[in-house]
């Protein structure tokens, strides 16, 4: 299943947030969206996920939802959004319960996603007992459990320290290598974007328009820390983004 954004635009009252965004999200690819603070990245992602209605334009689903997919468009939140009163296992169960899968299948899915995110030993832990990185892995496991057609990730690593972020990026790449998933990945971290994105969409400052789409052909698994080719892409992106970021910063000050 592919997604197509057809000239999306949106305003909150008089404030225009997004203007004329057209974008293809092909199956099995990770599309990163970067842009200065407040340019409407999260808003765009909410629209893709059907949590908000775009003022203009439409979001189209091309092709059928694959078999066995319980929740086609699935979020991974920046602040994890785990239920603190449920264990790791319980948090994953939560999203399966409404589907009436039967105990055996539910158990199989939980065991599988916990193994894939290396959490099998922490099934019974409560969120308060585990670290930030693990919490995000639980959120990831929960997203994988519903076998999504497209994962929508809003700065999933922003709440983590840089070492944990590095580790989790590795985990994401490994997960993708094992079974390519489709994802829209919002971030303001250029390094994450060049490590994880097959294509990187750079939005301008508010109102957000597409400034540039940068494709990176290096396979995800070969993108290592400090790869010169990636460094070059990152510098290129930063130069494009710099002026926007400065302008956006000034704008916020003058509000």
């Amino acid at each position: 299943m592919d997604l197509k954004l057809d000239s999306i635009g949106h305003s909150y009252g008089d404030l225009e947030i997004l203007r004329d965004i057209s974008l293809d999200i092909p199956k099995g690819k990770i599309v990163c969206i970067i842009g200065p603070s407040g340019c409407g990245k999260s808003t765009l992602l909410r629209m893709i996920g059907g949590l908000e209605q775009p003022g203009r334009g439409q979001i189209l689903q091309i092709g059928d939802v694959p078999d066995g997919c319980l929740n086609p468009l699935t979020y991974v939140f920046q602040d994890f959004a785990l239920l603190p009163w449920r264990t790791v296992e319980g948090n994953i169960q939560l999203v399966l319960e409404d589907h009436r899968l039967g105990a055996q299948q539910t158990e199989a899915i939980i065991a599988d996603v916990l193994a894939r995110t290396k959490l099998s030993d922490f099934r019974q832990a409560l969120p308060k007992q585990i670290s930030g990185g693990m919490k995000q892995r639980v959120a990831l496991a929960r997203a994988l459990a519903v076998n999504p057609a497209v994962m929508l990730m809003d700065e999933p690593l922003s709440a983590l320290d840089s070492q944990t972020r590095e580790l989790l990026m590795g985990d994401l790449v490994a997960l993708w290598e094992r079974e390519p998933f489709t994802a829209v990945y919002v971030t303001h971290n250029l390094n994450e974007a060049v490590r994880l994105g097959h294509s990187i969409v750079l939005l301008s400052r508010r109102p957000g328009r597409i400034r540039e789409i940068v494709e990176i052909d290096t396979p995800l698994a070969d993108r290592t820390l400090g790869d010169p080719e990636l460094e070059r892409k990152q510098v290129q992106l930063w130069q494009l983004m710099r002026d926007e970021a400065v302008a956006a910063d000034q704008e916020l000050l003058s509000v």
């Binding site: 996920g49 949590l51 929740n71 468009l73 699935t74 979020y75 939140f77 602040d79 959004a81 239920l83 603190p84 009163w85 449920r86 939560l94 999203v95 319960e97 409404d98 409560l126 969120p127 308060k128 929960r142 519903v146």
Partner: protein
Amino acid sequence: MSDTSRSSAPTSSYKPVAFRGGGFAPRPHRWVGLGVFVSLILIVEVLTRAGIITSLTLPIPSDVFWTLVELWQSGMFYKHMVPSLTRLVVGALIGCTVGVSVGILIGLFSLARAGLVPLVAAIFPIPKIALLPLFVIWFGIDEMSKYALIAFGTFTPTVVATYGAVDNVDRTLIRMGQSFSLSWVSIVRKIVLPGAMPGILSGLRISLAIAIILLVAAEMLGAEYGIGAYILQAGSLYDLERLFAGVAILSVLGVMVSTLIGTLERILLKWRV
């Protein structure tokens, strides 16, 4: 030279940084509460026995204790306690159940909120005791009017605490539920209710204390037996020992209710950081 000045000069002013980060974190101190009770009672005991406090002002605590023992031995304790506890449990159960349900309705539906919040605000400050005659007319002099008074009195604080608690449930968790296409019922049952539980429980703490206050008020009218009736009889005879014995029973009841809620919190809110 710079070396010596660096190592020697400041030595005289080496000071550990003062710690100023403590407090503001309640820790359990098991026996302190009991200690405060016991020492207060001991002080009163000594002062009354020494005659510094006359027995007209305060009864001697040990006399109160013997009155309690006597009450127990005569079997009258049960006679008073059973109807009182029944009234408390039935009244508070009705009031809190309806209160929690209405509070959740207000929390979930804006129409219910618009319609009921002003009503609750209007009912809240009415001293329910003042309405006692009205309840007697409506529900008769029997048990029903007592249940009604307690239920009515616990209802409003429970409603207010509950809808406040529902309002405070983390919205991102609800968004998360929606993003996984959970059904409305699932979101309410598995996200909103557990999320509101801390607030609901602390509301119950207040409501149940109010229920005990109203219990005594309810027993002022046409109750032969009950802790409230017992206190009232003692009061009209200026029998301070029995008055205080009744008050002590109410206090113990209050502590027990509070402990009960505390236990409930420990079990239900294990997940809290």
